[in-house]
Symmetry: C2
Subunit: 462 residues, 2 copies
């Protein structure tokens, strides 16, 4: 790309805005790209602490670390909010194989495959579980097959994410229920276990976990559920086509323990003019255990912390109170989000704006807003301010789950939208590590979040 | 990012366009994301052939491979256009170190550093070159220092790319001349060699090469030039601050050989209504030798090939003649681009539109256009068609170099604009390998290029 394009990222006056807003946005982006803490913080969270499964010691290490780092920023307040959380543990690594033999006779020939227990699942029996397998597309397909084809078997949900959708998250949402409720649904037809194709668009050897639920199902009716890597899902499917009498064996050692006390981490810059109006920026501090939770949601955590640091570094004095909230246990029940919202209600804190990034540390494209028409019109008026930074996506939509409990009739909830093409390669798998996060992309996200928060602080909401 | 956003990538009717254009674009994207050849082709180019330095055997392998693959597509014509190209070879790997000692006395203590010869540079003397070093910012700084501070020394240009520019290519363009003309300028002041800080925004151990020129300088005045990794540039700079008498040693073994005959690879679908109007899509087939040229410019090559394949696969019958042109020797003189343009002129072929991607296989954001006001207005009318695919950047600008020689008063030249944040991590270094290219991002780029070409074929130019 040599001597190629002199692309005009114009910083020249946009006539509809005060010079001040343009200047401030330029300063925010410059500061973030040249003097950021996000990347260093993420390095520590990912490589010194690692996976931060809810209820784990690592999750508490992350609480202590982020609190200590926020305390260094000389904000007005930093505190922990206790939250009761479930504690599910994976135990020893799972083991699984496909067993073949003529007419179902066990020749001892096995093909090892890569699986991981779904979060919340029960273990298999101590010696593992071996059964015939039936490949199923979805819950409709389960019904069509009926108990006569399913009872005593392991149900193998093999529905790939749809590759032709531009937003990979849409493809993910479309099949998420299979992981979440697959065991519950399949057990109604007598299945003894469930194997779900990992939700990623790539063919890989790494399984991707997901949370699942038994709701109020009787304990003796519950069946174990695991995710299988996409490569191994292809193998299993191909082998089933050759011989439907093959057997699948898996052993997983996970366990639901007693609930424990964890924490939301909260820090505040108190507003100078309207301290009773709150704007928050946040992400979830817990992660899955397989990787380091670098994209999910370490990136959002460090960006949210950096929003307050950037505001301080640039000498901006917020009119309203600005908080960073690092929510505990997004992945297994949203307890931190609910707890924070309870506190807000009890203390009658008027939260006018809440922003989160739970979409990884990729290049920011814009925001999705959950708000009224009037508020959305106000936001669209700001869109041109973001053009020099290639931030173009300003659309209505549902908000992310951590801030969702704060929704009321007049406030604005927003989610950062990032480039989603690579996200599901890493999410919930051992692949979600620091080296997959690009420093500049992370910093551009932090700047974009800071810029929007700055505008809401300055102008309030309609 | 679980249960998060149902983002509406709406495919619902855009009232200003015929249903047909929306349908065709949707089909193009779907086909590219579910049935692409780009990624497989790139795998072969990168991993089976590898770096394709102009004049090398590998470059000719790439000519033969892409021609053979294009022939499989049942297009109307596939042919090679001979091009005379320079042949510069790196020879044995470079070696360099920093030597320290009290008051310039050689204690034998050395720090090895990573360098690579700039393309087109002469070798050092056979035993290498050792001299004192002077750190310089730019050509103005050279003048200020003058011959008395420079003569007999190695000039070390240590200007980093500017991190606060959003478009990394702008930061690159701003300092590109230092690599290109550094040896020529420094030798005027008696320098004996030139070391240039690698043009990447990351701190890394890998040097990034670049083309350089001696213009018509007398052969005995020419001095060798190399790039040093950013990590080692930091080390050298820090050591110079401690002791300006340290010496730098480097040995490089590169050589300019006789020019050789290489080829542009060209394939055509002949137009059904206006066969004398040509639309081309292209990229450069040569690359640097250090990596595999996966992003630069393998990605553009396979995407350009895929444009014609997608058109065939979708059953689109172009009204105008559509060509893919794979240009030889972009990196060391643009001979292929010039040769193709000569042929166009000789044969009076009316090229109304030329598109290239020389910006890597990253997520497409839009296009830069070099065209008249009237043509640009026509293009803006199509912008909304691209919104479902998050393609938003439609701006005027200079065009990329391979198609630049085709410019005339009435035609349209366009360059794909991709997300530039990661590009310079890889460009011209050993790091430019297949594994850094994301399949979906590559496919989205191919689809975006195909969509624009489709519109120009259907509507022509104003």
């Amino acid at each position: 790309m040599k001597r190629l394009l002199i692309i005009a990222i114009s910083l020249s006056p946009l006539i509809n805005f005060s010079q001040t807003d343009q200047d401030v946005l330029r300063d925010i982006y410059k500061q973030s790209l040249t003097n950021s803490k996000s990347y260093d913080w993420l390095n520590y969270l990912s490589n010194e602490i690692g996976g931060r499964l809810t209820g784990s010691l690592n999750a508490e290490k992350a609480v202590a670390y982020t609190k200590a780092e926020l305390e260094k920023l000389a904000l007005d307040k930093v505190w922990l909010q206790p939250v009761k959380v479930p504690k599910w543990v994976r135990g020893a690594k799972e083991h699984a194989y496909i067993e073949t033999g003529p007419n179902g006779f066990n020749t001892g020939k096995t093909t090892t495959v890569n699986i991981c227990a779904l979060g919340g699942s029960i273990a298999t029996p101590a010696l593992g579980l071996k059964a015939n397998v039936i490949e199923v597309k979805n819950f409709e397909h389960l019904k069509t097959l009926g108990r006569e084809n399913i009872a005593g078997k392991i149900v193998f949900f093999n529905t790939p994410m749809q590759a032709d959708l531009i937003d990979t998250n849409e493809a993910y949402q479309n099949i998420l229920n299979i992981s979440k409720r697959g065991a519950l649904e399949a057990s109604q037809f007598g299945a003894v276990g469930v194997i779900v194709r990992s939700m990623t668009l790539t063919l890989s050897d790494f399984p991707h976990t997901e949370s699942m639920t038994y709701e109020n199902q009787a304990i003796d009716k519950r069946i174990p559920a695991a995710a299988i890597s996409t490569n191994d899902a292809e193998v299993l499917s191909a082998m089933l086509k050759l011989d439907e009498s093959i057997k699948f064996y898996f052993k997983q050692n996970c366990k639901q323990l007693k609930e424990v006390t964890s924490h939301n981490v909260i820090a505040e810059i108190t507003g100078s003019e309207y301290p009773d109006e709150y704007l928050i920026v946040g992400a979830h501090l817990d992660s899955w255990d397989l990787g380091d939770g670098a994209h999910d949601n370490g990136a959002g955590v460090v960006q949210s912390m950096d929003v307050l640091r950037l505001i301080k570094a640039l000498g901006i004095k917020p009119k309203r109170s600005i908080r960073v909230v690092l929510f505990m246990n997004k992945e297994n029940g949203l307890d931190g989000a609910k707890k924070y919202a309870e506190g807000v209600k009890q203390n009658k804190e008027n939260h006018i704006f809440a922003l989160e990034n739970d979409a990884g540390g990729f290049s920011p494209q814009g925001f999705t807003f959950n708000c009224s028409d009037s508020n959305f019109n106000q936001i669209l008026h700001w869109k041109a301010l973001f053009k020099p930074y290639l931030i173009h996506y300003f659309e209505r939509g549902t908000s992310a789950e951590n801030v969702e409990p704060l929704k009321n009739d007049h406030n604005v909830l927003a989610s950062l939208k990032t480039n989603s093409q690579r996200y599901f390669e890493y999410q919930h798998a051992a692949l979600d590590t620091f080296n997959t996060v690009n420093k500049r992309e992370l910093e551009l996200g932090a700047a974009t979040m800071t810029a929007l928060l700055y505008l809401f602080d300055k102008y309030g909401i309609n």
